[in-house]
Amino acid sequence: MNNEELYTKLNEVFREVFDDESITVTNVTTADDIEDWDSLEYINLIVAIEKKFGIKFNMGEVNSFKNVGEMAGSIVSKLA
């Protein structure tokens, strides 16, 4: 999967979870950029991303992601 495909899929997840078709995420997107993104929605986001890519994050990762780019990096390493 190339970077573009990865972000296309990530965008799908974000749009579904936040029910907002206008969302477009980049590697620097953070919780501050999306209005409804709070700690409770973060759980849903993580679960949805895991499902979408068929992967599982560990606790350390979930606690340390600072932006979408770091999530994407972790996904890529797990799919490799």
Binding site: E16, V47, V62
Partner: protein
């Protein structure tokens, strides 16, 4: 909504909660509003959000009260102005084995373990007692799922120090309480966690990360289970099944293969699978579920299949059998009409996806679960919780008989040209009396189930009915009706609230199984007598239209009331003067 019926995709539901909610709210339908309080022993946010979807799908629009994190005990036992103001219609105590205060130590003897059980039960009983005394509404309580580890290995199950043993004993105590208190409903997470897979369900990741005592991915199964209890408590269970025959109740096509070549019975593996399925369906009869058939077959062939020695289900187990070449949606509609129940209380069971599609497309509210292949039929129907038995009454087991008697009545009626002669020939006897203890559960059940002959569609819990029955400011009446064909059981309920010299009719309903039998006139006669005796001058009736109760729009007019008020949405108020010149309206039922 198909996405919210079992077997559902939990990932889809979790991810798309917001969109699904939007879609559900856009549907043109009536919702009943209910206040649902969730008192949690761990994070409950997503449990609440997914529960909302399932409830909306059942036509219930919830408002939620959610306790602060892990404060279920404090919320229940101490004064809680916020919860008081919220006025819950139902309370869900969502706990897990992580909420057990003290487990036995290996050094504990049996007596010490007994003591721990008693302490824990005392703690939980104080929650339930306190909640019920303050809010008087039904309570749903999770039992305990099994522990994730077994320190003693298999011995954990039977040794008093083992957690498996300890939790099983706590569960048994919960069940005793539930049996003794009708307002208490157990949410059996012990079963659904096993069904889901305990090691997945209890994956500690979700507790350490988010303080969820279950896997977030399992939440839809928990919420669905809770929604099924709630919809059952509020009278939204299904009432009847319409079953296909070929490749549903037996293997093969009776018209092509011949009855003797069908797969049914314990002799072949396929036949055995259908046999087990028939046994499962047949058991629903005693639960009061009405069984019917819609099959594309010549009737003679269908009956030949049902007459097979190895067919557990036979002709007499069904109320209406439609074996013909009409479309299925048409037959399903006719069955609903003949049973006198609404199509949305039907479950349509057919192995053919195309038939299921046409039925759900053509008839709003009918459920037609994707039953998969024969070895999965039972689980795919069962997991849907269509018939969740929160209330069981003596009437349930007799229901099929009652509906069959109705079919006989219909035949008798056809032999009379004068309807009144027919009514007299029925030799009807009614018992009309104030609410009493033994009928409380049936009365509450009726207030929640009746939609068509129901003037105000006000729903009551059993607790509310009990309260009203002992309140002297109320006139309460129930009516049961029997005739030459059998006992119809308790079929009509009237609740009048006395305000000064007036009686305000909060509720008047009748089961559709006794439509056009003049039972409503007999109820009116008795109501008049009681009001006259109590010195009441006026009776006021109210009609609030819903999508389902159009048949009683003019009910009070027929009863001799005068219209006093009507607003633009059709809500109307009616007045009846209690005067000495009242002429009895019922002439055909002996009361």
């Amino acid at each position: 909504m198909k996405e919210l019926e079992y077997p559902f995709d939990p990932g889809y539901i979790l991810t798309n909660k917001k969109r699904i909610k939007r879609q559900l709210l856009a549907e043109e339908r009536e919702f009943v509003k209910k206040n649902v309080a969730i008192l949690g022993g761990y994070t409950t946010n997503d449990i609440k959000l997914v529960l909302e979807l399932f409830l909306l799908n059942y036509g219930i629009m919830p408002s939620f009260y959610e306790s602060e994190y892990n404060s279920f005990y404090e919320d229940a036992v101490f004064d809680n102005a916020q919860l008081q103001a919220f006025k819950p219609d139902i309370i869900y105590v969502c706990t897990s084995n992580r909420n057990v205060k003290v487990y036995p130590e290996l050094s504990d003897d049996e007596k010490a373990a007994d003591g721990l059980i008693q302490n824990e039960i005392a703690r939980f009983s104080s929650i339930w007692d306190s909640l019920f005394s303050k809010y008087g509404c039904p309570i749903i309580q999770n039992n305990f799922e099994m522990p994730l580890f077994r320190l003693l290995g298999n011995r954990d199950a039977y040794d008093h120090r083992g957690r498996v043993n300890f939790l099983s004993r706590l569960n048994a105590e919960f069940y005793s309480y539930a049996r003794a208190h009708e307002y208490m409903h157990i949410c059996d997470i012990n079963y659904i966690s096993a069904d889901y897979g305990l090691k997945e369900w209890s994956d500690p990741f979700y507790y350490h990360m988010y303080k969820y005592a279950l896997n977030v991915n399992a939440i839809p199964y928990l919420s669905f289970n809770v929604a099924n209890i709630i919809k059952s408590v509020f009278g939204k269970n299904k009432k009847a099944m319409v079953l296909d025959l070929d490749n549903t109740l037996w293997g093969g096509v009776v018209g092509d293969d011949g009855a003797e070549n069908l797969s049914i019975g314990p002799d072949t593996s396929e036949g055995q699978a259908y046999y087990e399925f028939q046994r499962y369906i047949k058991a629903h009869k005693d639960l009061g579920i009405l069984l019917n058939i819609a099959s594309k077959n010549d009737e003679a062939n269908a009956l030949e299949g049902l007459a097979l020695k190895d067919s557990l289900l036979n002709k007499d187990d069904f109320i209406v059998i439609k074996a013909n070449w009409d479309s299925k949606d048409r037959n399903v509609r006719t069955i609903a009409e003949e049973l006198n129940i609404l199509p949305d209380s039907l479950v349509f069971i057919d192995d053919n996806p195309a038939e299921r599609h046409i039925v759900t497309e053509q008839i709003k509210g009918v459920s037609a679960p994707d039953i998969g292949e024969v070895t999965r039929y039972i689980q795919n129907i069962d997991r849907n919780g269509f018939f969740e038995a929160t209330v069981m009454t003596a009437d349930d087991a007799k229901r099929t008989e009652m509906y069959k008697e109705n079919v006989k009545r219909a035949k008798l009626q056809a032999s009379f040209s004068d309807y009144n002669d027919y009514l007299i020939s029925l030799k009807m006897k009614a018992k009309i009396a104030a609410f009493d203890k033994e009928h409380l559960s049936r009365i509450a059940q009726l207030t929640n189930k009746s939609n068509q002959f129901n003037l105000t569609t006000k729903r009551y819990t059993q607790e509310e009915i009990a309260e009203i029955s002992s309140d002297k400011d109320y006139i309460t009446l129930y009516g049961s009706l029997e005739d030459r064909f059998g006992d119809n059981g308790l079929v009509s309920v009237v609740i009048g609230r006395i305000v000064n010299d007036e009686c305000l009719l909060d509720l008047w309903l009748m089961s559709c199984r006794v439509l056009k039998r003049n039972m409503e006139f007999a109820m009116m006669d008795t109501l008049y007598e009681i009001c006259a005796k109590k010195g009441i001058k006026r009776i006021r009736g109210f009609y609030y239209p819903t999508q389902k109760n159009g048949m009683v729009r003019d009910f009070y007019k027929i009863m001799g009331f005068d219209l006093t008020n009507e607003d633009e949405s059709g809500n109307s108020e009616w007045l009846f003067n209690v005067t000495a010149d009242y002429v009895k309206k019922n002439t055909v039922i002996e009361v």
